[in-house]
């Protein structure tokens, strides 16, 4: 199974990936609490970055509102838990179809009525903003007062209810990131993957080759939204509190796309690498500033801006295509 999923990968790339995975799997053994929370954040962004990359990197549809799916996933699972005591995995079974449906709605609106390019991106922002305002006034989820999950000290990790130590979340996100990576690779090497790339490169030429571009763009949005729903569920049960103002905010959507941009849009490893680089460096910076007793509000945002600028100027395709060439791994498809 794993062998099939890795088929066609350069040997060196497979070995490096295996090493990275082994290192990550062993990390909780030596990482302290702080490093663990940073790694959790990195994995979270690596996961959602991959989900976003399916839409933008593969199918060429720019979403600037992916916080919508994180928020919907988070609120769905959290509300079901708070109101009915329904566990997160069943909540996930509700969140995924809901996000898929909302993604299909956004996609249908856009692709049916030829809302493309910049206008499509604006539409995704608008829908996320609509959700933010809507949830602010939705009593069922406690509106702007925020939705809180009951927190207590747990004697042991309860995987079924996602109550427990961060290590549990760490392993869940590590598995999700790895599965997402293998899944993206399988998609990209399949029929739908080729059709996505064709649409991204030249939609009219893609249609001339018989590709039902509406359908395949819809597939991309739905898969991406459904994948992102999972991140939302984990987010809710990890942080235990949700505010519309926070989860649906456009800055959350932007954070999601920074990793893939820095790592390499449209590449398989780019979103993962980007999450490590950006979140890793940003946390190091925050740590360093704290150690020096300096408090600069917004330092992280400024740092993100500088990173983005540096990458766009020096490596417009992202770090990974350049790095994989330097490592002799050939093409940017690992």
């Amino acid at each position: 199974m794993i062998a099939r999923l890795l088929e066609g990968m350069p040997r060196a790339a497979a070995v490096l990936l295996a090493l990275l995975f082994a290192l990550m799997a062993a990390a909780p053994l030596f990482a302290g609490d702080y490093l663990l929370t940073v790694l959790i954040l990195i994995l979270y962004f690596a996961y959602v970055g991959q989900a976003w990359n399916i839409m933008m990197g593969f199918a060429g549809q720019l979403s600037l509102g992916h916080a919508l799916y994180v928020g919907l996933g988070a609120y769905t699972a959290a509300a079901l838990f708070v109101h009915f005591g329904i566990g997160p995995w069943i909540g996930l079974a509700a969140a995924v179809p809901l996000c898929a449906l909302v993604g299909a709605f956004v996609g249908f609106l856009a692709f049916r009525f030829r809302v493309a390019g910049v206008y499509f991106a604006i539409l995704t922002i608008a829908v996320a903003e609509f959700a933010r305002v809507g949830f602010d006034h939705l009593d069922w989820t406690r509106g702007s007062a925020g939705l809180f999950l009951p927190v207590a000290q747990y004697a042991r990790n309860d995987l079924w209810h996602l109550r427990g130590h961060p290590v549990m979340f760490y392993y869940i996100l590590l598995s999700a990131t790895a599965i997402a990576g293998l899944g993206c690779r399988a998609l990209l090497r399949s029929r739908v993957g080729y059709f996505w790339l064709a649409i991204r490169e030249d939609e009219e030429a893609a249609r001339a080759l018989g590709i039902d571009t509406f359908r395949y763009k819809m597939v991309a949005v739905v898969i991406s939204a459904a994948m992102t729903a999972f991140a939302g569920v984990i987010y809710a049960f990890y942080y235990n509190n949700l505010f519309p103002e926070q989860v649906f905010h456009i800055s959350r959507s932007i954070e999601i796309i920074l990793g893939p941009i820095v790592g390499g849009i449209g590449t398989l490893f780019g979103p993962i690498l980007g999450a490590f680089v950006l979140t890793g460096l940003a946390e190091m910076l925050t740590g360093a500033l704290a150690a020096l007793g300096i408090d600069i509000p917004g330092a992280k945002q400024v740092f993100y801006g500088i990173c983005l600028l540096a990458v766009i100027v020096a490596l417009p395709e992202g770090i990974w295509p350049w790095l994989s060439r330097r490592l002799g791994l050939g093409s940017d498809k690992p």
Binding site: R191, Y194, A208, T213
Partner: protein
């Protein structure tokens, strides 16, 4: 016998300009037909109507007996019409092989089968050795060949070629002519080609349609058409006179 492609009185107007004016053409299965005419005559517009980019304002287009005018381009391709673009449109960031893979996957579910087809087509068009190159790095003649390869990979019954010989050297033109002839004879592929390179037209086409200002001014066997007074006057003659 009914034609594979039957165009009946199609017109297309762009704002004030009548780009195609009541053109009719019947292309029997297995035929090679050329469409010639000066720049701006409406040749590409005629192709765009067949391929579904524009719906004709008047007239009908039938393919294999079914009405196709007004259908979207992807449906028309799936019915068996492949087309190339005069202004080439490769997928620039993809390799030559992956460009052709996209076409080959239309009627093949699995990538490995599509890859076999892509390799076969790439060999025909002498692009096999360049298959790992990004399409953006190709020279114009190679991009023209890639257009043909990609369209062929979709297994069309009818191939529409829009000036694919332009920019090719004479030896390359002869090679392309030979490839197209071979495909036509071996698999019965029907071809309609827009072409300025008369050397290729004369070598390939059994019939020629001449467009001028959107209207069909002559149609027939190559020898007849090139002697047709209106054609000499409006098109071929222009060079002779000069």
């Amino acid at each position: 016998m009914s034609a594979l492609l039957a165009i009946d009185g199609v017109s297309k107007r762009f704002r004030g300009l009548l780009a195609v004016d009541r053109v009719s053409l019947a292309v029997p299965e297995g035929a090679i037909v050329a469409v010639i005419g000066p720049n701006g005559a409406g040749k590409t517009t005629l192709f765009n109507m067949i391929a579904g980019v524009h719906a004709p304002d008047t007239g009908t287009i039938r393919f294999a007996g079914r009405r196709i005018d007004g259908l979207p381009p992807d449906q028309i391709c799936r019915q068996g019409i492949g087309r190339t673009f005069q202004i080439v449109r490769p997928f620039p960031a993809l390799t030559v092989e992956d460009n052709v893979m996209v076409g080959a996957l239309l009627h093949r579910r699995q990538a490995p089968q599509a890859r076999l087809r892509a390799h076969e087509v790439l060999r025909w068009l002498d692009l096999y050795d360049k298959r790992a190159q990004r399409a953006a790095t190709l020279t114009l003649p190679d991009r023209k060949r890639l257009e043909v390869a990609r369209a062929l990979a979709t297994d069309p019954r009818l191939l529409l070629l829009d000036e694919v010989m332009a920019g090719l050297r004479p030896t390359e033109t002869d090679r392309m002519v030979a490839v197209l002839k071979q495909l036509n004879q071996a698999s019965g592929l029907t071809i309609v080609l827009i072409e300025h390179v008369m050397r290729a037209v004369m070598a390939l086409a059994a019939r020629i349609l001449v467009l001028h200002h959107g209207a069909a001014i002559a149609e027939g066997a190559p020898e007849e058409v090139v002697r047709h007074p209106a054609v000499i006057h409006s098109y071929l003659g222009a060079e002779d006179v000069a």
